[in-house]
Subunit: 343 residues, 2 copies
Amino acid sequence: MSQNLGKASVKPEKPVYILNSGSIVGTKEGQGPLGLLFDMVGSDDMFGCESWEEAESSLQKTAVQLALEKAKVKPEDVKFIFAGDLLGQSIATSFGISTYQIPLLGVYGACSTCGESLTMGVITIAGGFAERVVCVTSSHFASAEKEFRFPLEYGNQRPLSATWTVTGSGAFVLGNEDALASYGERARAKVTGMTVGKIVDYGLKDSMNMGACMAPAAASTLEQHFIDFGSQPSDYDKIITGDLGKVGQTVLIDLLKDKGYDISSRHMDCGIEIFDGETQDTHAGGSGCGCSAVTLSAYILKQLEEQNWKKVLFMPTGALLSKTSFNEGKSVPGIAHALILES
Amino acid sequence: MSQNLGKASVKPEKPVYILNSGSIVGTKEGQGPLGLLFDMVGSDDMFGCESWEEAESSLQKTAVQLALEKAKVKPEDVKFIFAGDLLGQSIATSFGISTYQIPLLGVYGACSTCGESLTMGVITIAGGFAERVVCVTSSHFASAEKEFRFPLEYGNQRPLSATWTVTGSGAFVLGNEDALASYGERARAKVTGMTVGKIVDYGLKDSMNMGACMAPAAASTLEQHFIDFGSQPSDYDKIITGDLGKVGQTVLIDLLKDKGYDISSRHMDCGIEIFDGETQDTHAGGSGCGCSAVTLSAYILKQLEEQNWKKVLFMPTGALLSKTSFNEGKSVPGIAHALILES
C-alpha cells in the first residue's frame, strides 16, 4: 500500500499519534464557551511582555512547554519543530521558540497553518524521518490587527462579517509507535489521512469578510478529500473548519450542496465555538492561526479521547492576504488543509 | 536502515532526483558573472507588471513554468508545491503560483527557504507520499527593500556590509525513480542527505550586516551536519552557503576553525558568485530567497551535471527579521538548512 493517495491526499502507512498537546489563550477566549478547557488563560493580553509581538512569541513558547511537559518529552528528544504564525516573516515563531533549540521548519498557510504544520509533521514521522516532532502555531488579536488592518488605538469599526482574531497558541507533540511506547499513556488521537489544499481565488476582496473568501477553498479541499478517500460526509462524526465563522459556514454548506455533498448536520467551525457571538461582540466568530490550534488541543481532542466522537475531519482554513496585497487592490485567495483524526 | 539520522539530519533511503529546474532573474543579475547561465533574464525589473510585488509573483510563475517544461511534466502530474518568499504573508507565492492549481505547502525560512522547500520535498518523495513535487522560491530587490528597509524612492544609503537582494526565482522538479524513468533523461542531480538548522541568535542587531547575523547559524548547521553524517569538509567538492556575502564568509570560516573544521579552500557563497562586487556596486554580495535558488539552478547543478563537482553541500542561509522586529529593537537571528547534492 502506498502513502500517496489520489490527487491531493496522503495516507500514513505507519500510525502517527498526537501524544499530547498544550493550549494557552487570552482573557477573552478564557471567558468564552471553551474557557475552562484551555491549559492556561492569561490574566491580560500582554502576558508580561512589552509589545504585542513579544506577547505572541511568549504564547508559542508556553504552548510548546505545556505540550512537552504533558507528553513527558524533553526538547532534545524532538527531531523537528514545524511552526508558524500570521505576522510578517513569522516573527512570533522566530522569537518564540528559539530557546528550545529544536531544528525548525517554518510553515506559512495563513490561518490554515495549524493544518499545514500537522500535515508536514505526520509526513515526516510516517516517512521514518523522525520519532517525535512538535507542531505549533499562534495568533494574537492585537498583533494581527496591527499587521493586517489598523492599530487598536485607531478605534476602527468592524462590520458584522468580520472575525475576531483569537489570542492563543496550540502546540502538539506527534510521535510514532516507539514514541507512544516511551510515553506509556494513551495518545490523544491518531492522524490517519491528510488532504492538502490548493489556492482558490474567487476574486473576493473584502478583508472584513474572510469567511466568504475562504469558504470556496474549504469546499474545494473537502470535495477533493471525499474523492481521494472515496468517503462521504457521513463517514465523519464532525467536519470541522478552522475559522470560517457564521458567514463562511453558510457559504461552505451551500457550495458543497451544489457539488452533491450535504455536511449541514455535522459541520462545526472552531471560530464559531470559541466565542459566544451573542455576548462577546465577536461578530462572525474567531479566526487566526491560534483559533483552530487551541480548539483542537482543548476541545476536539478531548471529544475524541472521551469517545464522544470516533472520527473527525479537521480542516483549518486560511486567507492569503497581506496589507500590501490588500492595499494594492488584490483579491483574498483562500486555502484549506484537512486531516482525519481518529480516537 | 533508517531515514532518521543523528540529531538534526535525515537520509533518504530511496533516491530523490532533481529532474530539472528553471531560473529567471532581473537585469542586474543578467549582467553579472553568471548572466549567461540563467534560463531567462528580464529586460527590466517590472517584468510587465504594475507593482514590485506583482513582478515578484510573475518570477515564481515563470520559474515554475520553465522547470515544468524542462522536466516534461504537466502541473496535474505534480503532487505538491513547496513555495515561499520573503514578503509578509508570502504574497509573491500566493499570487504567483495559483494558476497551476497544485496543492500548496507554504514554507518560510527567510533566505534559507530554498533549502527548506527542497528538504520538505525530498522528505515527501522519499517517504513515498509523492512521485513528483515542485519547490520554488523568489526574491525581488525592490519589493524586499520596501518590505524590510525603505522604498527605493527614499534613496537610502547602504553600508559596505549590506547585501543586494537578488531579483530572481528558481524552481525545481523533484521526482522518485518512477518519475525519472518517465522523464527519460538524466536527472540534474540527486539529493542524498539533509540537515535541518535551528534558530541561532548571537544578539546581533544590524540588518545592514546580515552576513554576520547568519554566519553563526551556518556554522551551527555545518558542525551538526559533520557530526550527524560522520563526514568532514574534504568529503565535499564545495561547501556552498546561500547569501553570507564577503563579511559573513569570513565570520563563518573563522567560527568553524574554532570548532576544528577548515572549510576555507572549498567554501563558496551564492551571494558572492552572482554579482561582480568590483563593478556592480553590490557591496557584500547578493542575498534573498532567489539568490541561492537561481545560483543552484543555473550554476551549481550545471557543475554537477558536467561532473566538475561530484558532491557538494548546499546550504541556504536566512536572517529571521521583519521591519517590526527590527524597529522594536530585536536581534536578527539566523537559520541555515543543508542538503547533500551528488552528480
